[in-house]
Symmetry: C2
């Protein structure tokens, strides 16, 4: 099986050359760190990816979790992985010193291990990632005594954290959450309800599971304004510190297309009227808190998709280099030796597509992570602007990698031909694993409505204006380089057109028409955002190539960036032409169609 | 699980209303038949689909074939299915009376059962389909005494037929076939070699397997000009009629992403120097014969993909109608009841996409089948033209459904959300099953080069001219209808642009540059071809609606056709804008890129 699953070189390129993580070191929050620390994190994460995560990729897929006698049995190595992540400080990597964390920048402490672990074995990385997200909620919104109860065990990887939102009748529609919480005289709430599709919601790889759960306090307003957030442990902590069952029961697990190394559970809370929960923050503000975790989780999902696509890219690249088949079309001698398929333009096109998606996505995700860091370590307008831009880019950073990651893994299968369809090679697993990403943490349709309906419009379009300014800045820089100038011009045109399309859609009258094609708008916006990221990347590559004095490997890396950038502008950016046409046709077909027309 | 997997109404629409299968009854070949016969075929195939094929869909996926002690064990019901297909006359449905067939038109005898069986259970339909294809080769190119040896058992479903082309070093590059054939004094050839990825190449659901195998007679010219076609049975027929082992050994099977109900085998011929084969037709013309079967198999693959996508469409449509979630965007009351998700424009868009792909593909496939019938029952220029047009459309009819079928099944998963990813619903299986189609019987890349490099150019572009004429005919008809005229105008523009792009590519100089983006050209061509088919379909629908006197169900059907047609022109046809831009950018990136640039 292919060894390589991610480009170390590219991670360094993004960290140091494109987004200059070292510039964060001037901020007090990160002042203790240094490039040496970041390098150690990178090296250690890579070693763990290679030695702990990757070797279990196939095995965890084939030995799926089992639900036996009320217990969810996961691969026995899950426990080791969680402990390694705990002991190595990975779960608390970006947490505050005060909470026992390492206070690393998100770009390093979150992005680097998440990208590497997910590329090595996506399912295996979810356990610790979810735990870190749940712990961040507790760290952010709970009093110190609550933090002390949960955080040490969660950061140590001994307890699992989850986010429990979905219910049988409330998936995309969170306002329909029905789980109830009733305050008792003892200060805790009694929780009752069902949650479904909860990742790592129960398993025998940990000693306890801490659910961050959405529920409705009795008498709360209807809709999203009446949803509160609770901590509900599987086993509650008694006064003496002992663990007692908390009436949280796993009713079963799902058998899935992929992402099989991690169980997705159905949970029942309070079947015996003895499930206790503790309110996080204020009542009825649960969705606001949860969205802190959710926004992080959406970036995580985009990253998971880009990482799986990365592993698929290197697997198909290795195959393309080694597999002899056919000859150049200009060679008519059937006796001449066959050439490796990487020589065929069509295979190269598919490889460039894969790389363009992977590295374009990683770049946008690192951009988001950089903004997360600015939010954490700056203040005033700088912080506010970073936050707005991050809000705007989050649905894109979730969905572009998710949707295009599928196509990218599919291209990987195609390069391998029949072998891609068989389980001797990892492509078919990547293809199955990556398909979850447009679904969980808000489907692509939900992200589209979030982008167009909320983010583009919030504060009278302020985030949209900030975004435009950022892209224009990159365009201006690129225009000073005669090689890049024509590409910058194309991006400028695309950006202008995006503005026109947005105005057109906003003027369509009612909300239904405005958002009917929000999914396509998201796709459209995403291509332009990734084109921007590619232009940013090659500004760096051009400078490096111009400066000279490079090792041959570096020349190949930067020239590879240039080639992939060109690929993107020749093959991907033109797709916006069709999308713009469709979005401005003024069709009301999907709003008006009569359901009976789907009959027969 | 969803019951419906295909639209009977749509099959009748294509058969009788769009392509007028009854017009074939004037030809002597089909003169014995009647609409009543066709209806009986349709009804019987539907009954078999529902009662025999569909109930085994999940089971055959989960109980995959096993390779035990040199034997391939398939689901025990495979034997019944083959016998049902034999006894019911399905394998010989389109074969000549002289060969024991029913001499049905391809539109009925091939398309109808293949579409229905594949939609009900793709894997289960492959066994008989391959047998019919292999039998057609024997019927077409072997003397009567050979036919008598094999055909009755094959048509009865007692023996399996295969096409054995691929070898470890010869997949897409057939000119590298190495299997050898050496003439003996006894008149047969001794066969030696390895074949891989052979569908149904060995299994215990039949008593014998008849391989149509490509091999090279010793001393034959190198390349494709030295390839001959042989019949190589797994068990040869002795003079007394007894079966004897023929030194054909199964070395193993592949474990696949999907399409698991049918084994894909690795075969070894002549390990013990005792494998006998019989030459089909003339030496060194094997590829020409094989392409008769291959062209049919390509249509079959397109049909398989469209059929799986059809089943996925009805499964997601059923879910969309039943699943309540969310409210209209114009309804801000969280206490109002949730609506079925089919009310959401984004879900409708996905459903329309699925239907547009499914029914657009079926229409193009029926078009091809109609041309096959013209080839079989006409002569002179009419036959020649039908043949040329069929040749041109075959790579499109294979690839458009294959590639778009994947996206269509993926949209089906997306409609179901988390449930789409789980095996309680059939979507995840459809998604796995359909992924084989861009790979087998010539990958999409191969089809692209076939279309642009061979078919568009053959006989000085005669097929291309015929195609243009056909599309223009439809455009002219549509222009007479004020409602359809604007759409006809859009198709006309797209067709003109296609011509310009083709001329541009042909002028690019060398073969590498000319065909570098042939895959994209195929995609581009395919969208226009399907737009043409949609325009043809709605010409019929408009007439029916205008004539009036329809039952409500018919009105819904025709209005549904109109809506799906509009969907295609609003959402799919505009994609050609971006493809045309990319194809005419003059980029030589994928030809010129240095392989080292993929480093890191």
């Amino acid at each position: 099986m292919a060894e390589k699953f991610i480009s170390e070189r590219n991670l360094r390129f993004l960290l140091y050359e494109v987004f200059d993580v070292e510039s964060l070191l001037t901020h007090p929050r990160y002042a203790d760190h240094s490039r040496e620390v970041f390098e150690m994190i990178l090296e250690t994460a890579l070693r763990m990816g290679k030695t702990i995560f990757k070797p279990l990729l196939t095995e965890m897929d084939r030995q799926q979790p089992e639900y036996v006698a009320g217990e969810v049995r996961v691969h026995p190595k899950v426990r080791n992985i969680m402990r390694e992540c705990g002991d190595g400080g990975w779960i608390a990597a970006t947490a505050d010193y005060d909470h026992g964390g390492q206070q690393l920048p998100m770009m390093v402490g979150m992005m680097i291990p998440a990208a590497i672990f997910s590329a090595a074995n996506y399912s295996a990385g979810v356990y610790s990632g979810l735990t870190a997200g749940a712990a961040a909620l507790i760290a952010g919104f709970c009093p110190p005594e609550t933090q002390e109860l949960y955080l040490p065990k969660m950061y140590a990887g001994i307890w699992q954290g989850t986010m429990a939102l979905t219910e049988p009748q409330a998936g995309s529609s969170l306002s329909d959450v029905l789980t109830t919480a009733e305050l008792t005289d003892q200060g805790y709430y009694k929780i009752k309800g069902q949650k479904i599709f909860i990742s790592a919601g129960d398993h025998n790889g940990v000693d306890n599971v801490i659910h961050m759960i959405l529920a409705r306090i009795k008498g709360a307003p209807a809709g999203v304004k009446g949803i509160s957030l609770f901590i509900v442990p599987k086993k509650r902590i008694e006064a003496d510190g002992a663990l007692a069952e908390n009436d949280v029961n796993c009713a079963g697990i799902y058998h899935k297309l992929g992402y099989r190394g991690c169980p997705i559970t159905q949970l029942s809370f309070g079947e015996n009227d003895d499930c206790r929960g503790w309110l996080v923050g204020e009542a009825n503000k649960g969705l606001t808190y949860m969205f802190q975790m959710m926004n992080g989780a959406r970036i995580d999902v985009g990253l998971g998709a880009a990482s799986i696509a990365s592993a698929a890219y290197y697997a198909s690249l290795e195959y393309a280099r080694e597999r002899p088949q056919g000859r150049k079309l200009t060679d008519k001698d059937p006796l001449s030796p066959q050439i490796p398929i990487i020589e065929h333009p069509d295979v190269r096109r598919m490889l460039l597509f894969q790389r363009a998606v992977v590295e374009g996505s990683f770049s946008l995700l690192m951009q988001c992570s950089y903004l997360e860091d600015l939010v954490l370590c700056t203040g005033g307008e700088e912080k506010e602007n970073a936050d707005l831009l991050l809000e705007l880019l989050t649905p894109v950073a979730k969905s572009y990698p998710a949707e295009m990651g599928i196509l990218s893994c599919s291209a990987g299968i195609q390069i391998l031909g029949g072998y891609g369809y068989c389980d001797e090679f990892p492509l078919e697993q990547y293809y199955r694993d990556v398909r979850i990403h447009p679904i969980h943490e808000g489907s692509t349709g939900i992200q589209g409505m979030d982008l167009l309906g909320r983010k583009m419009m919030m504060q009278k379009g302020k985030a949209a204006t900030l975004y435009k300014r950022e892209v224009q800045k990159t365009i201006r820089q690129a225009k000073e380089d005669s090689e890049l100038a024509p590409y910058a011009g194309e991006l400028e045109k695309a950006l202008d057109k995006l503005g026109q399309v947005t105005v057109y859609l906003a003027g369509r009258g009612n909300a239904e028409l405005f958002l009917a094609d929000a999914t396509l708008y998201l796709e459209y916006f995403g291509i332009i955002a990734i084109a921007w990221q590619w232009l940013m990347q090659v500004l760096v590559a051009r400078n490096a190539l111009a400066a000279g004095g490079l090792f041959p490997g570096d020349v190949n890396f930067y020239e590879g960036k240039m080639a992939t950038f060109r690929y993107f502008f020749v093959y991907e950016l033109p797709k916006t032409a069709g999308l713009a046409l469709t979005l401005t046709k003024g069709s009301s077909l999907t709003v008006d169609i009569i359901n009976d027309y789907f009959a027969d």
